[in-house]
Structures are given as C-alpha cells and as structure tokens.
C-alpha cells in the first residue's frame, strides 16, 4: 500500500517467509515500520491514510502511537528476524573466527528534493574510533554519505575499509532487495558492531551476535525533528545501550524487545495478518 514498505527489501523478505514470490511481493494493507524508532514507528510528520494498518516491530511503538490517537496497529517483529530465520547460515563463521568492528556512521536520508545531510566532526570521530577499537574497523556508510566523496574519503584516508550496503529505494525504484541479506552476512562475520547513534544497525548487529558499542559525536541531521525527544530521550530510555563497553546480556534482552522477537509469528499467521490468503 505504500512504497516505504519496500525499503531495504523488507516486504520482499516477509513475502518469501510466507512462501510467496519475493520478486514482486503482494501488497501490505498499510504501513510497515522500516527502521528502529523512538516514536510511533514512523517519523513525526509521516502521513497516514484512514483505514491503513500500522505494522510495527515491537509493542512500544504501538503504545506510543496509541497515545497519539492512532489505532489499527499490529506488532509483527522486525523483518530482519524473519530473514535470520530464512537464512540461518548466511555469512555464518565459527564464533572464534569473527573479528573486527563494523562501524555504522549515522546517516542522512534520501527523498528526491527533500533529503537531509548530516554534519559533524568526522576527524574527531575517526580519532575516537582508533582509540577505542582494537581490531580492524570497517566503516559502513549509507549511500547518501558513500556518494559524498568529501565524507567517504575522510574514512578511507584514515585507513578504514569503507563499504555501502546499497539503497533502500524510492517509489518502488532502486530498492536493493538484498540490502538486509548483505547486512546480515556481514554482521555474522564481525565481532563488534558500533555506531555514533543508537540505531537500527546496532540492534541488527546484536541480534546477529555482535557485541555493541555506541559512542562518538552523534552529529547533526539537517531539519531533524525533535518531536519524539531526540538523543536525550534515547539516553534516558536506553542508557544501557550507550557506551564503549556494553553488557551483552542486557543488550540482547533490549534488542529482543526492540526488534519484537516475541512477536515473530508463523507464516500462516502472517498471511492472515497481511490479508495475503487467496480469497477467490
């Protein structure tokens, strides 16, 4: 029902999980949350149309949305969890062979004409990463930064390997349907996952077995809407997920909550929830 549902190939993953074609996945009768979110599952000014259901990863966005007067929520669990179920061996290496840190730079966002860039002190961040990490570091940039040579080059010049997992797409075009596959494959080979903001990638990394770290300049996003409380709210709600040495057991418990692990449902139930059962 909405092109955001295709972001990162999430709708494709769920269709595959349900035993349906994932090249052109069936329509979802509403909005599918596409990133970890401190609000109601979407950005503060996201528009919704009447009758559309909101499919969120965990119960917290549902509760927050309810407080905003929004109903018709269903909690599904994050599509990444379903992908992990579909691809139990993708990228997996023996535990002792995992090494290095996959470091995600907080990214800007892309929408033709209305995207936003990040601004911050990249050199200072690089220094801090070098001070902190003891094993090789791979920097993951979203394409919005990867395609900005002035950003990418700083990290390359610092001696880091710099990678990009692809585009999430726009209006059903340009979606890298293997985006999350590539991320999952990478996560399973790294020992640590880190970022300068608590964000989706950290939770994905923890779910895939990485030890998390969140540190460094959180940087500024152009036009960032602080309606949901911004970074200070994150610090108040998830202090255990911030820092260079995070307790892994605690991180895993929080990750399970935030990705909605307990809400993961069998394929038949999901087909019903998305109205994907053939009725004629």
């Amino acid at each position: 029902m909405h092109h955001h549902n295709w972001y990162y190939g999430q709708q494709h993953i769920l269709a595959r999980y349900c035993g349906l074609p994932d090249d052109f996945p069936p329509r979802i009768p509403g909005y599918l949350q596409h990133g970890w979110n401190v609000g109601c599952g979407w950005n503060p000014v996201h528009e919704f149309f009447d009758g559309a259901w909101r499919f969120v990863w965990s119960d917290a966005p549902r509760r927050r949305g309810h407080s905003l007067g929004r109903r018709a929520y269903a909690v599904t669990g994050a599509p990444m969890l379903y992908l992990m179920d579909l691809e139990p061996d993708l990228g997996r290496v023996p535990e002792p062979e995992r090494k290095g840190t996959l470091w995600f730079l907080f990214h800007g966002w892309d929408a033709p004409g209305i995207g936003a860039k990040i601004h911050g002190d990249h050199q200072r961040l690089i220094d801090e990463i070098k001070e902190t990490e003891t094993e090789p570091v791979t920097i993951s940039l979203y394409y919005t930064e990867f395609d900005r040579p002035e950003v990418r080059k700083v990290y390359e010049d610092a001696g880091f390997e710099v990678i990009c997992f692809g585009k999430r797409g726009w209006n059903y075009e340009g979606t890298d349907r293997k985006f999350l596959y590539k991320q999952l494959k990478a996560f399973r080979q790294f020992k640590r996952v880190a970022s300068n903001r608590l964000a989706t990638a950290i939770f994905y990394g923890v779910a895939a077995g990485c030890v998390p770290a969140v540190y460094g300049d959180a940087m500024e996003l152009e036009g960032d809407n602080p309606l949901f409380g911004g970074q200070t709210r994150i610090a108040r709600l998830w202090p255990d997920m911030l820092g260079k040495d995070i307790d892994l057991a605690t991180a895993r418990a929080i990750t399970d909550d935030e990705l909605g692990k307990q809400f993961v449902m069998p394929p038949a139930e999901m087909r019903m929830l998305f109205d994907w059962n053939q009725r004629d």
Binding site: F49, D50, G51, V75, N171, Y172, E173, A268, E269
Partner: protein, 523 residues
C-alpha cells in the same frame, strides 16, 4: 377441600402474572424448610409447586393472594391442608390469626396490597408481615432491588416502567431497603441470597467473586436472562463485571431473598437453573463443589479462560495469547463442548476444568476446539471488545483459523463449518432487541468502516500513482538505453565490428559457399 376465605383488600377482577417459583427456589426451600412444621403461610403469588412443597412439610398451609381469580384457581389446584385466602396483607393481619411457624413471601412485599388498601410503604408492609409471625418463625422474604442493573440500564423512562399495579407509585418509596446491608437490617435476616432471575447466589459469595470467576458467571448468566426481554441502555454483563470487580455484585442484583430465623435446614452457596434440573454449588475457600445431577465435582475459583484470553487480546499481547492457546490445545479433549467462558485453569496442573455447564457432544477434539474459538470470536465481536486483529481477519474465518493454529490444529473448511454449527447450538438466545449502546456502537463502527474504506481507496489510488511514476521512470530508462544503443550502432567501432564479421564469413570459403547456396535456393 377448604373454601377460599376472604379478608379485607381483595382485588377483583385481577390476576398477578408470573407467580414466584421455579426449580431453584424449590430446591432452596427443599433444603431450608423443616421436615415438619405446624403452620405455614405463603404470602403473595407463588407457584403451585411452592405451595405443594410447603403443604408437604407442614400440618397446615395458608396461602394469601390478593386476586380473587388467582385464589379460586389455586383453591382448585392444591391439597386439603391448604387454606387459600384472598385479600391484602393488612387485611389478614387485622384478622389476627395464630402466629405461623414458617412464612414464605419469596415474591416480596410488593404484591400483597389491594387497590383499596392503605398506602403502606415497604417497612409498614414488613411490619404487617411480622404481625403474623412468632419469635421463632422461619421466614423467607423476597425484596426487589431498586438499584439493580436491570433498572439502572433500563432504557424506558421512569413513567413507563410500571404497569397497572402502580395505582400508587409503589417504587417511589424512600424507605425501601436498597442494599444487601439494608435488607439484612430491615428484615433481621440470618442469610441473604442475591437473586439473578432464577439464579440464587449467597451475597457473601457474590461479594467475593470477581469478573470471569464461577460465582460471577452464575450471576451474570441469571442477570442476562432477567434482562433478555427488557429494552436496555447497555449490555448488563459489562456493568456486572464492573460491579463484581468492586465486590458489589450483590448490590446490583435484581433482588434478594432473605432468610430470617434459625430453624431451617442448611442451604447451599448457589442454586442455578441447569436444563430441567438445578445446579447446586458450594464455595469453600478457593474451590467450588458443584453438583447438577447428583454427582459432585471440584471447580477452582479462578478466572475463566475466556476472561484471560479477552484480557490478553485487549492488551494486544498476541505472544501471550498464542502461548495460552497452545496450552489450551494441549489440554483439549472430546469430553464435551468446550465453553471457554465456563472453563477454568486448574491451579494444580497445567490443564483446565470444565465449569457448571456440561454439553455432551459426539464431535472430535478439533471440532470442539473450532467451536470454542468460533464462540470466542462471536463474543469478542458482539461485545465490541478491544483486540489487535484487523477487520479482514474477523470478517472471515481467518481469525479462528489462526487461533486454531496457535492451538496446534490445522483448520480446514469442513472443520470450521462443523465448529460453527456446534457454536450455534450452544449460543445464548438473542435478546428481543439490541441495547442502545450496541446500536450506537454498531452505527459508529459502520461509519468508521466507511471512512476507512474510502481511505483504502485513496491509498490504493496513491499506490497506483507511485506505480505509474515507477513505470514512467522505467520507460525513461528504456528510452535512454535505446538511444544509447542507437548511438552505439552508428559509432565507428560498431561499423568496424560489422565489417569484420562479414569479412570473417568470406574468409571461410566453405561457409560462404553454403550461405550463398541457401540464398539462391530461397530466391
């Protein structure tokens, strides 16, 4: 056979409809009345069966009814040791009969005066009754509750609620007792039952029960029956649940039955209709002992499975709902129809205990489980209860299918159909007309649905627009690629490539001759 006697205050012509009786009252009186007493008074309209029971336990019985017609009919129906008197209560008191050992006024004190009687309020009528009693008299007195949910939720305005018997505004009586405590005090009662239609529940048990527990189930079942033919503002069950939560279920019962005097036999905690018989239940701590047909069984005083599932649905806690449904599936058996509102978790095991109602069935376990979920779905939706499932799941069999899968049962169309049939067989009889809140809620739901469907059309149209944009983008890409290709064809590199290919053919004489031959043959 004795003649009908007349005292002051008889009504002619008149008849009191629906005389008090029924199997549960008979069962209570059967337990309570002494096996042999000397003089018994039955005051007010009571069924023949009640009078016959009194006659069987007493040397002599006097029956006071205000209607001459009713008196004549009773006179023809009862035994020799029964004296039928027609007239008003004050008229009988005026005749100063010998005190009675037993007084049965289960119909209450609202149908004991005639149109010519003085305007006695409730305490004055009670005082008239006590004039007929001795100090050791065992009395059973019914009291209608003005604070009953059936009254509070009555859709009719006050001036339309009462009929021809309100020649004086009988219910506009500030001195009428309207709470269990007031009734106990006014009558000096030893024990008090809250009456929910034909269900009798000890007020102490009614005060301790909570929504979904067996006691509340008995009460609400009776309450629903009491309101079945009454225009209501809202479903009685909702108010009853709230009252039960507050420990006030007895306070909102349609009436009470007070027992005064200690000379009677022991009575049970509850009496309720059960088919053609009576269900008798005793609460002992956190367990009920239930007997309907002579056999006794233990029932934990816990919340029903339906209550627990509704709570999980309202909390939108699907994982916990799923886990509970799995537990239910592991327990399910074919010992009878599974009524989730009458099924209680067994505190000692992981299983469940069937409650008061037993409905035998030849259906298999899966069919019974399908029926249980069909019924759960019906009650979830008709009750306008909160839940997390989208409308397209509730409007089809999808939701029941999913619940069954949570319980480990693979649904088939045949299974769902059979479940539907069984659920329909055990469905409660519908009310004569829906309550006002349900009507309003249904209308509002329809309005919301219309808005949502319009939104859906909007969403689909916008999706089409996105798709159109996507097609335009691709078309543009294809055109660009085609232009690139055209430009490439004209480039010197491609021309050179084409020339080289042709020369390559000539350089192989055999192939060239073959190609030439084919060309000549074709021409």
């Amino acid at each position: 056979m004795t003649d009908v006697q007349i005292v002051r205050g008889e009504l002619q012509p008149w008849t009191d409809t629906n005389p008090t009786g029924g199997a549960t009252l008979l069962a209570l009186l059967g337990d309570l009345l002494p096996l042999r007493s000397q003089r018994t008074l039955v005051a007010g309209p009571h069924s023949v069966e009640v009078i016959e029971l009194a006659a069987a336990r007493s040397e002599s019985v006097s029956v006071l009814v205000r209607s001459v017609t009713d008196a004549q009919e009773l006179h023809a129906a009862v035994k020799d040791n029964v004296t039928v008197i027609t007239g008003a209560l004050d008229g009988l008191a005026l005749s100063e009969p010998e005190p009675f050992d037993v007084i049965i006024a289960a119909d209450g004190l609202d149908r004991v005066l005639g149109a010519d009687s003085p305007a006695l309020n409730w305490p004055q009528r009670a005082a008239e009754l006590w004039k007929l009693a001795g100090p050791e008299t065992l009395a059973v007195v019914g009291v209608e509750n003005e604070f009953a949910l059936t009254g509070l939720y009555d859709r009719r305005p006050l001036d339309e609620r009462h009929g021809d018997d309100e020649w004086r505004p009988l219910h506009d009586d500030p001195d009428r007792p309207t709470s269990p405590a007031q009734v106990m005090a006014a009558l000096g009662a030893e024990r008090l039952y809250a009456t929910f239609d034909h269900t009798l529940l000890d007020t102490e048990a009614a005060a301790t029960t909570r929504p979904g527990r067996p006691g509340a189930r008995l009460a609400i079942g009776g309450l629903t029956a009491a309101g079945a033919h009454q225009p209501l503002l809202a479903p009685l069950g909702d108010g009853a649940d709230a009252a039960a939560r507050a420990g006030l279920l007895a306070a909102v019962a349609p009436g009470w039955l007070a027992i005064r005097g200690t000379g009677g036999g022991a009575t049970h905690t509850a009496y309720a209709p059960a088919g053609s018989g009576v269900l008798i239940a005793d609460l002992d701590g956190d367990e009920w002992t239930v007997s309907a047909d002579g056999g006794g069984k233990r029932l934990p005083d816990t919340e029903s499975v339906e209550t627990l599932l509704f709570r999980l649905a309202a909390a939108e806690d699907v994982p916990a709902f799923r886990a509970f449904a799995a537990r239910l599936g592991a327990w399910a058996n074919d010992e009878g129809v599974i009524l989730l509102d009458d099924l209680f978790p067994d505190g000692e095991t992981d299983g469940f205990v069937r409650g008061f109602t037993t409905v035998k069935s030849t259906a298999g376990t899966s069919e019974l489980l399908a029926a249980a979920y069909q019924r759960l779905r019906d009650r979830l939706l008709t009750g306008h209860r909160r839940h997390p499932w989208p409308p397209w799941t509730t409007e089809s069999d999808d939701l029941v299918t999913t619940w069954l899968s949570m319980s480990g049962v693979q649904a088939t169309p045949e299974l769902l159909k059979r479940g539907r049939e069984i659920a329909d067989q055990v469905a409660e009889p519908g009310t004569s007309e829906p309550d006002l809140r349900t009507i309003l809620a249904d209308a509002e739901e329809a309005k919301v649905r219309a808005v949502e469907l319009a939104g859906k059309v909007f969403g689909l149209e916008r999706t089409l627009r996105f798709r159109d944009q996507s097609l335009r983008t691709r078309e543009k890409q294809i055109r660009t690629v085609r232009d690139d290709l055209r430009g490439l064809r004209r480039s010197p590199v491609i021309r050179l490539h084409e020339l080289t290919s042709k020369m390559a053919k000539i350089r192989n004489p055999r192939k060239f001759a073959g190609a030439l031959k084919r060309r000549i043959r074709k021409s």
